[in-house]
């Protein structure tokens, strides 16, 4: 190996001066071409390494300068033959993990690919337990390696799908490593906007490596994975927020900014709530596409099931369908869904109801919206008032855990009523809301009692203090009297 290294250094020194001269000196290639021939030789001629003046010995070892077979392919000259298993990747890493060496060939490729590969999901041991699942050559081929930019490379954006699915669409193969992993990603991908464009020859759209990474592919449950739930938005945004890059597709590039501000974005990115949706939760993973007008409520409904069910049974369902309005999105928007407040409901200018229900055109709906808003407002106000009273009583040192416990029911009724809005039925809404109003009233009454008790304690203390003061003063006067008497007696 040492000899090879030294030799490589020699090559490195000379490569800039005369790569051509060196190529001519590659006796391995010339001899093999003349005697054996075949695919490896033919392919290597187009290999980027050949172009850079690296001989066969670069990977296989031996002395490429001599025509004597015994000397050239001698173990003493460092000849190793065909590398097997992990030796393959190690042979590549010899140069590709060495920044100085790579620089000497005029390359500015990153030098951490080998390390990344070892740490990736593909760096795990294969079934034979002796080598890793994937070697460099698995994706890049052995002879005939060309730059990624080159359309003939197996890892060129248009080819990469095929390269990955060589294994990932093979159910029998995948079962050995991850039986639960689907093998239909390609089929799904071809239905996505990305997949369709990729098939048409658009090398800019996302393919496997765009989202999963290349050497550093990790399991989606690995927090370092580019497709880990909290990392998905920034992975998508890598392209979708790049206005320059997205220019030709004529779609907005502000989704990430909007999403980050949304209730979902805050939950996912700030609070790290993995239950909150990322881009793929609504748009799909491999079959990424905008949800259609009719499917948006199904998408939201996967999590907000009750709301979706109520909505589907509500009179709004038909009205929205007739007008081709997307269901949830019409009121809640899409990427920038903010926390729904009471303001959405009712007939004020901010309320979404009033967009369709005006007093003149739709008096019934207008009245219902107005009534529901006033109910939810009073529900919230009463709960707030009750909670303030409880807090006040608690701060004043009153034991009020019982009422505090009941307050939970008011909170629950309010949340339930917020869901019940989606039935768009005033009667049902009133039923839930009144439950909360009753609880709030009870809690308020108990808290007020506690506050009254607080006042009573002070009055009681005042009275007791008065009694003690009277007694103390009269006792004092009495002592003085006795002592005066005693003084007189002594005199």
């Amino acid at each position: 190996m040492n000899r090879i290294t030294r030799m490589m250094m020699g090559i490195a020194l000379l490569v800039c001066v005369s790569a051509n001269a060196l190529r001519a000196q590659d006796k391995c290639l010339s001899c093999h071409e003349a005697t054996v021939g075949g695919q490896p030789v033919e392919m290597f001629k187009h290999d980027i390494h050949h172009a850079k003046g690296i001989s066969c010995a670069g990977c296989h070892g031996g002395d490429s300068k001599t025509e004597e077979m015994d000397q050239a392919m001698n173990a003493k000259a460092g000849y190793i033959g065909v590398p097997k298993g992990d030796e393959i990747s190690k042979a590549c890493a010899n140069c590709h993990a060495n920044a100085a060496k790579m620089k000497s060939f005029g390359s500015n490729l990153p030098t951490n690919q080998f390390q990344n590969l070892q740490e990736s999901v593909h760096g795990k041991l294969a079934t034979n337990g002796k080598e890793r699942i994937v070697q460099c050559t698995t994706c890049h081929n052995a002879h005939g390696i060309v730059a990624v930019r080159n359309a003939s490379s197996p890892v060129f954006p248009l080819n990469i799908v095929k390269t990955c699915t060589k294994c990932h669409a093979d159910a029998a193969f995948m079962r050995m490593y991850n039986p639960s992993l689907p093998v239909d990603q390609l089929d799904k991908y071809r239905t996505s906007v990305h997949g369709i464009r990729n098939a048409k020859g658009d090398a800019k759209v996302a393919q496997c490596a765009s989202c999963h990474g290349s050497h550093d592919i990790r399991n989606a449950k690995d927090t370092k994975s580019k497709v880990y739930a909290t990392n998905v938005p920034s992975t998508c945004a890598h392209c979708h927020s790049n206005a320059e890059y997205m220019k030709e597709y004529k779609i907005p590039t502000d989704q990430f900014d909007k999403f980050s501000k949304s209730v979902h974005g805050v939950a996912l990115l700030t609070k790290h709530d993995l239950g909150a949706p990322a881009c793929n939760s609504c748009h799909g993973n491999h079959a990424a596409t905008p949800p259609g007008i009719s499917s948006v409520s199904k998408v939201c409904g996967t999590c907000h099931a009750l709301n979706a069910d109520l909505f589907s049974a509500s009179p709004h369902k038909k009205a929205f369908d007739d007008r081709k309005l997307p269901e949830c999105e019409t009121c809640h928007s899409n990427h920038e869904i903010i926390v729904a407040t009471n303001k959405l409901l009712g007939v004020t200018s901010e309320a979404v109801c009033s967009r369709c229900h005006s007093e003149a055109q739709n008096a019934k709906g207008y009245a219902a919206a107005k009534a529901m808003r006033s109910l939810i407002d009073s529900l919230e106000n009463n709960e707030k008032k009750a909670s303030e009273l409880v807090n006040e009583a608690e701060q004043k040192g009153m034991e009020i855990s019982e009422a505090k416990y009941k307050l939970r029911d008011a909170h629950q009724a309010r949340l339930e009523s917020r869901t019940m809005v989606h039935a768009f039925n005033e009667g049902r809404f009133r039923e839930v809301a009144s439950k909360g109003l009753v609880v709030s009233a009870t809690v308020s009454a108990e808290a007020t009692d506690a506050l009254d008790e607080y006042v009573f304690r002070r009055i009681g203390l005042g009275l007791a203090t008065l009694a003690i003061t009277i007694l103390a003063i009269s006792l004092y006067v009495y002592i003085r009297r006795i002592e005066r008497r005693q003084a007189k007696g002594v005199q």
Binding site: S401, R457, R458, I468, L475, I482, Q486
Partner: protein
């Protein structure tokens, strides 16, 4: 009314000779001097102890021991039982004031050298009662079974466990096992409501009897004055009525404290929760707690904590035995050395308590 009263008196007098007692009381005089104010602290301590007995018995009517119910029963007392909040707050406040007044009483006796012959036994019983009072405080603190108490007990018994040789068995004895658990609570209830009150009552009886028999001590400087210049006041009714006046004021103070600063209950102890930040013992243990923090881990070959505990133990023992090694005061001579020691200890306790409180 009057006849009924005198008849009853006569009936008892015939049997137990009350006259002798009244005569004794009537002839008893309390010295009057510029240090007289300190004489009242013993009486106030006695009054606070009586309050503790009464409120303690009242609390015992509703309190339920045991890990599952201790906290809830205090919550119950404070919310469901009429005036339960008052009784509990008074009990907690009185506990603290009692330690404070007993502490003042002790130091006034110390600086007045009132422990000198013939009052050695009074001093020793008083000191023992003070140690018991700290035991009352320590055991009573755990009974609500709240978070703070739980960890304070854990730390407190841990410190006891650091004493060489006897420490470990003592800790296991106190905790009723290796850890602070429900078993510790049961034990502490036993100490708090049976063992300590029993011992305390015996000591208190001796203490009061001796005070009555021997009368109040006077500072050494007053003994030099001629008997004519020494002013006195009859114990009964003058001093007793003054005592009562003060007791009334103290009682009112307690009621005000209980209403305006009700004693908090906090969160229920969770055996498996991690300790909340800033765990501190009760203020009267704070100076020792703080000292142990400042002692380095190793002093020469000794373990710092052990050394600290041993020093406090030895100090307490010397303090308890002061009438026996302060021969000078017993002979009626001045002993400034005693004053310097006392002053140093008072300053030390005050400063470290404040430091411990703030930090």
């Amino acid at each position: 009314m009057k006849t009924l009263w005198s008849k009853t008196y006569h009936w008892i007098n015939e049997r137990v000779e009350l006259d002798g007692l009244v005569e004794f009381m009537g002839k008893k005089y309390v010295p009057v001097n510029s240090h007289s104010i300190w004489y009242y602290f013993g009486g106030v301590s006695l009054f606070l102890f009586i309050i503790q007995v009464v409120t303690g018995i009242l609390l015992l009517l509703y309190y339920k021991g045991g890990e599952a119910l201790a906290f809830e029963s205090i919550q119950f007392i404070m919310s469901k039982v009429q005036f339960g909040w008052l009784i509990r707050s008074i009990h907690s406040w009185t506990a603290n004031l009692f330690i404070l007044t007993a502490l003042i009483h002790m130091f006034s006796v110390y600086f007045g050298k009132a422990y000198r012959k013939p009052r050695e036994i009074t001093w020793v019983t008083g000191m023992l009662m003070f140690f018991l009072a700290m035991g009352f405080g320590f055991s009573g603190y755990l009974l609500p079974w709240n978070e703070l108490a739980f960890f304070a007990t854990k730390v407190g018994t841990d410190i006891a466990g650091a004493v060489p040789v006897v420490g470990k068995p003592m800790m296991v004895f106190l905790r009723g096992g290796e850890e602070v658990t429900g078993a510790t609570l049961s034990r502490f209830i036993g100490f708090h409501v049976a063992v300590l009150p029993g011992l305390f009552t015996v000591l208190l009886g001796i203490h009061l009897l001796l005070v009555q028999r021997q009368g109040m001590s006077e500072p050494l400087s007053y003994e030099e004055e001629s008997p004519k210049e020494r002013k006195t006041m009859p114990f009964f009714p003058n001093f007793l009525l003054r005592d009562m006046l003060l007791w009334l004021i103290v009682l009112n103070l307690l009621a005000i404290l209980a209403v305006f600063f009700p004693w908090e209950l906090g969160k229920k102890a969770d055996l498996f929760a991690s300790a909340p930040a800033g765990i501190k013992p009760e203020w009267y243990f704070l100076f020792m707690f703080q000292t142990l923090k400042y002692i380095p881990g190793k002093v020469f070959v000794f373990d710092g904590e052990v050394l600290g505990i041993m020093t406090f133990g030895l100090g307490g023992l010397l303090w308890l035995l002061v009438p026996f090694w302060d021969r000078k005061s017993s002979r009626g001579e001045r002993n400034r050395f005693i004053n310097y020691i006392g002053l140093f200890i008072v300053l030390y306790i005050i400063i470290l308590t404040i430091v411990g409180w703030i930090l």
